[in-house]
């Protein structure tokens, strides 16, 4: 080569490169050692700060926890656990401005491990905080089908339960029911799980599935008084909402036996009893009893209509052809016209008459409820029977 090297190094390019390579390797080793020691020192400091942050977070002192986690991350910036904890603290702090930052930490973690169940669950919770149904479903599903290092089934179940809870809050009942059915399929033989699923089904107004889950919970919770009482009460209410008043009565009686202070079960039990006493369509009653119930219901409906009209200053005598067929005056007119026909019921001459009378009674109870609010006692029982029959017709 025509150009010269230093006096201190041989005048040869390969030799120079060799020396530079050795020098670079030595410097590399030295810096590696330095970085390793520095990192070890930093990680030790970060662990102390992280422990403090965890204690603060567990005590719901989120502002302190955030500071501690931030400081831990200053010392050990790439620690996923610290990032996750900071993101959780930011999310749980209740400050909506923190959600962006929490999400960005989690998004960075997600990019590193897109199938990590913990990260996806945390992202799902952020999405739920934001109220974003699509994102929440996506991340919760990722969490449900993602990788969990331990106790995977429990975490997956928890993720699905949270998702269902969120969907119910957002009134997305259809999606919630789909998730619930999936949840119910894989529930373990534990009363608590079935009880929770039953409650969510009930929240989604899917009473048949709720009742099934309550029944499973009752079966699995024998000996657990508290769990049993809740399950009985829930089963009773689920049966009641389906119009299965005898079943409801049976479960509610057990619920009251298990927990006599359960006022809701008492109320529902009384209501079921009332319904069973006034409903002319229940099985295993004689024709005479049915006719008696219809006559009694007819009288009740007339009284309810009159009381309601008086309270709202509606004149029941002002019915003309122009008034709506469901208005109280129109119904009163029909009620008066039908009164003489009641005597014919015992003669069996007109087999459609009981249904016609009951239809009028139901219309009166429903219209009165619209005009004057929910009734009590026998009127409420009749109203519920009418709604049950409507639902059955649909």
């Amino acid at each position: 080569m025509s150009w010269t090297f230093s006096k201190f190094v041989p005048r040869s390019a390969p030799a120079v490169l060799l020396i530079l390579t050795f020098a670079a390797a030595a410097a590399f080793a030295a810096v590696s050692h330095l970085v390793t020691r520095f990192n070890a020192n930093q990680q030790s400091r970060a662990r102390r700060l992280y422990t403090r942050g965890l204690a603060d977070a567990n005590a719901s002192r989120y502002a302190d926890a955030i500071d501690a986690f931030r400081a831990a991350l200053v010392c050990d910036p790439q620690n996923s656990q610290y990032q996750l904890s900071l993101a959780r603290a930011l999310r749980d702090s209740g400050d909506p401005r923190h959600l962006d930052e929490a999400e960005s930490y989690l998004a960075a973690l997600w990019q590193r491990a897109p199938d990590d169940g913990t990260v996806n669950l945390a992202l799902g919770r952020v999405a739920a905080r934001r109220g974003s149904i699509d994102d929440a479903i996506r991340y919760y599903h990722n969490a449900i089908y993602g990788v969990w290092t331990s106790d995977a089934d429990a975490y997956r179940r928890k993720a699905r339960l949270e998702l269902i809870d969120f969907l119910l809050q957002k009134n997305a009942r259809g999606q919630a029911e789909s998730e619930l059915i999936a949840l119910a399929t894989f529930l373990p033989a534990e009363a608590a799980g079935h009880l929770q699923a039953a409650q969510l089904f009930a929240q989604a107004q899917d009473y048949p599935n709720a009742l099934t889950q309550y029944e499973d919970a009752i079966r699995l919770s024998r000996g657990d008084d508290r769990g049993g009482a809740t399950a009985f009460a829930g089963a009773g209410e689920a049966a009641f909402r389906q119009g299965r008043y005898r079943t409801a009565q049976r479960f509610l009686r057990d619920a009251i036996t298990e927990n006599p202070a359960d006022e809701n079960s008492h109320a529902l039990f009384d209501e079921a009893k009332e319904i069973l006493a006034v409903d002319p369509f229940v099985h295993r009653i004689s024709d005479a009893e049915r006719n008696r119930r219809i006559a009694s219901a007819f009288a009740n409906a007339g009284e309810r209509m009159t009381t309601c009209a008086q309270s709202k200053s509606i004149s029941l005598n002002e019915s003309d052809g122009s008034s709506a067929p469901n208005s109280l005056p129109a119904l009163a007119s029909r009620w008066s016209a039908m009164k003489p026909d009641l005597r014919r019921m015992s003669s069996h001459a007109d087999t459609d008459l009981p249904d016609t009378v009951m239809d009028l009674i139901f219309q009166i109870e429903q219209q009165s409820a619209i005009e004057c609010g929910e009734p009590h006692g026998a009127d409420l029982a009749l109203l519920l029977v009418s709604r049950g029959r409507e639902a059955a017709d649909e």
Binding site: M1, S2, W3, T4, F5, S6, K7, F8, V9, S12, A13, P14, A15, V16, L17, L20, A23, A24, A27, F28, V31, S32, L34, V35, F38, Q42, R45, L49, D67, R70, A71, A72, V74, C75, P77, Q78, R97, H98, D100, E101, E103, S104, Y105, A107, A108
Partner: protein, 603 residues
């Protein structure tokens, strides 16, 4: 045709090939037979590398060493910060108040007595090494910069680690070049190569580093050094990522740009950023010479007083302005601060950085510039959001764009500013807002102050260095600017002398261009043509007589400087069409060239 430019290039290429390629092969072959064993390998390698190849490999080593140095530098800053201020400084802590002042005092003593050459950011010093000191930067500068900047930044002075990293890289490269006794032209290039490596490592952004070194250190586009600069920058980034991880400087939030109407909002940000950049630059430009002019003994305390004032800002509730502030930029990007606080932090950071910088505390301007831009971007975005809630993007987008805005307006590196934002964010969706905002910032800043901050600081130090920004403004003259119209009579190489003499008889021209066959140009004077005719050579063609006297020709778009080499000693040089070299566009003479230059630069 005897095209001078083409001819020169060809000659150069031929010469180069003649010297390098065959001789390298010959050397390898000779060495192979001369040596045995490991020596053969050496000889073979030696034969492979020519000077340029060796320089490229050396650039990789520069990148490696600069990367390692920057890793240590960053550890030193982190360690100092943790040791002196703790991991997360809290307001109203006595440490905030006292540590920067004490550190300032220590740094002042070190700068005055041991490392006098390390004041400032390091960008100008590296540029001066390239243009004035033949690439010489004392190794002591690297050591001093490392120690003093780590102490100052770690203690909370409002400065950044990027520019010092640039100078550390340049200084290492310069020392390496001196040890290898590289030729002067190569030694000169070592500084920018090392600078790119240092900056790329500090910023974890190789493209921005390369562009910045070209824009601000080299000061002109030079293809010759580009390969080495890129190699060193990439090598250093690989090293830094290997040791410190490939995490970006910031966790980039979701940034969006959907409606073109939003560009108005970004343009406003650009204008505000341009004005803020000028305030920043004017404050430094005004205070720095005045503080330097104070008695020498005051220099012991200038950095300490600056530290005290910065500590006071931190103590009173804005510790965010202390140090480089990357963590807080990250928080701003994620909407952690209100727009009022963001605005206040931008103003306080300008104040704190001005204090740190003008007091002579060594440290960089990159990080503070990004900080001010980020906070200002967030604040402007916040205000715009109040007035145009449906028009404005996310805070993160504004913070990111704001960074580029200050970079363009304050450092006046428009290309670097755009690529820096793209490289840091990894998001090309915001390229349009970034370009719009940066352009406005640059134009506003340039309109309000012609000289960039780096040029201003250089001139305050009594140096004059080339500036790419000024070069960009300068009008480049071309051959066509000095070109005279083509003469009325153009002779042909196939013309007979007697016919040509008859043709020119009534012409006022004294010299005539001759179009040779098949290509090329020559000229002939009236006197020569008439003499040849009288000597009885009327039967000869002009081409036969003038074939050995062909003229170089030029193209209209060539720089006028290129014409200077050819117009001497000839009456004119033909200017020909690039598509058809036989078509004469005009002529150029030494008089026309000089007249054109005089018209551009009147005495």
């Amino acid at each position: 045709m005897n095209d001078p430019v083409t001819a020169e290039t060809t000659a150069r290429t031929t010469a180069k090939e003649g010297v390098s390629a065959p001789s390298a092969a010959d050397q390898a072959s000779a060495a192979w037979h001369r040596f045995s064993g490991p020596q053969r390998l050496f000889a073979a390698i030696e034969g492979v590398f020519d000077e340029e190849g060796f320089f490229l490999i050396l650039s990789v080593f520069i990148g490696i060493f600069a990367g390692l140095a920057v890793v240590c530098f960053r550890l030193a800053i982190d360690w100092t910060h943790l040791a002196l201020l703790g991991p997360l400084p809290q307001n109203h802590s006595w440490r905030l108040f006292l540590i920067p002042a004490v550190a300032g005092l220590v740094v002042s003593v070190l700068v005055i007595h041991i490392f006098p050459a390390i004041r400032g950011s390091g960008v100008n010093q590296t540029k001066a090494a390239l243009y004035i000191f033949n690439g010489y930067i004392p190794f002591r500068t690297a050591i001093g910069k490392f120690i003093c900047c780590a102490l100052a930044i770690g203690a909370g002075h409002s400065l950044g680690p990027e520019d010092p990293s640039l100078q550390i890289g340049a200084s290492l490269a310069s020392a390496m070049g001196r040890q290898l006794q590289l030729p002067r032209e190569k030694l000169r290039l070592m500084a920018p190569v090392g600078a790119a490596a240092g900056l790329a490592a500090a910023f974890n952004a190789p493209i921005s580093a390369v562009l910045f070194v070209i824009e601000e250190v080299i000061g002109r586009w030079s293809a010759g050094i580009l390969g080495s600069v890129v190699l060193s920058a990439v090598a250093s980034v690989v090293i830094v990522r290997g040791f410190l991880g490939s995490e970006p400087l910031f966790r980039i939030p979701v940034t969006t740009f959907k409606r073109p109407a939003e560009l108005i909002a970004y343009a406003i940000l650009g204008i505000v950023g341009g004005v803020a950049a000028i305030v920043f630059a004017k404050a430094i430009g005004f205070l720095r010479p005045r503080l330097k002019a104070l008695p020498r003994w005051t220099q012991y305390f200038q950095s300490a007083i600056a530290g005290l004032l910065i500590g006071l800002i931190g103590y009173l509730g804005a510790p965010q302005v202390m140090g480089a502030g990357y963590d807080f930029m990250d928080q701003a990007m994620h909407g952690q601060f209100t727009w009022q606080l963001l605005g206040a932090l931008a103003a306080l950071k300008i104040l704190a950085t001005t204090l740190s910088f003008v007091s002579g505390t060594p440290g960089g301007m990159f990080a503070p510039t990004l900080f001010v831009g980020a906070m200002l971007g967030g604040a402007v975005g916040g205000v715009e959001h109040i007035f145009f809630p449906h028009l404005v993007g996310s805070t993160g987008t504004y913070v990111l764009v704001g960074m580029g805005v200050l970079f363009a307006g304050f450092l006046r590196a428009p290309m670097t500013s755009v690529f820096m934002v793209l490289e840091v964010s990894g998001n090309y969706e915001i390229i349009v807002p970034v370009i719009v905002a940066n352009t406005f910032a640059y134009v506003v800043s340039r309109a309000l102050q012609r000289t960039s901050i780096f040029d201003l600081l250089t001139r305050q130090d009594g140096l004059v260095l080339p500036s790419l920004e000024e070069e960009r403004e300068e009008t480049v003259l071309h051959v066509e600017d000095a070109m005279l119209p083509a003469p009325a009579i153009i002779l042909s190489g196939s013309d007979y002398v007697d016919a040509a003499a008859a043709r020119i008889r009534n012409s006022p021209q004294s010299v005539f261009p001759v179009r040779l066959q098949p290509t090329g140009w020559s000229s002939i004077s009236r006197d020569l043509l008439e003499r040849l005719n009288q000597e009885g050579k009327g039967e000869h063609t002009l081409g036969a007589l003038l074939s050995a006297q062909s003229l170089p020709s030029l193209y209209p778009d060539l720089p006028l400087d290129a014409a200077l080499r050819f117009v001497n000693n000839v009456a004119f040089v033909p200017v020909v069409n690039r598509a058809d070299s036989r078509k004469l566009e005009g002529i150029i003479s030494s008089e026309s060239v000089f007249q054109r230059y005089q018209a551009k630069h009147p005495q």
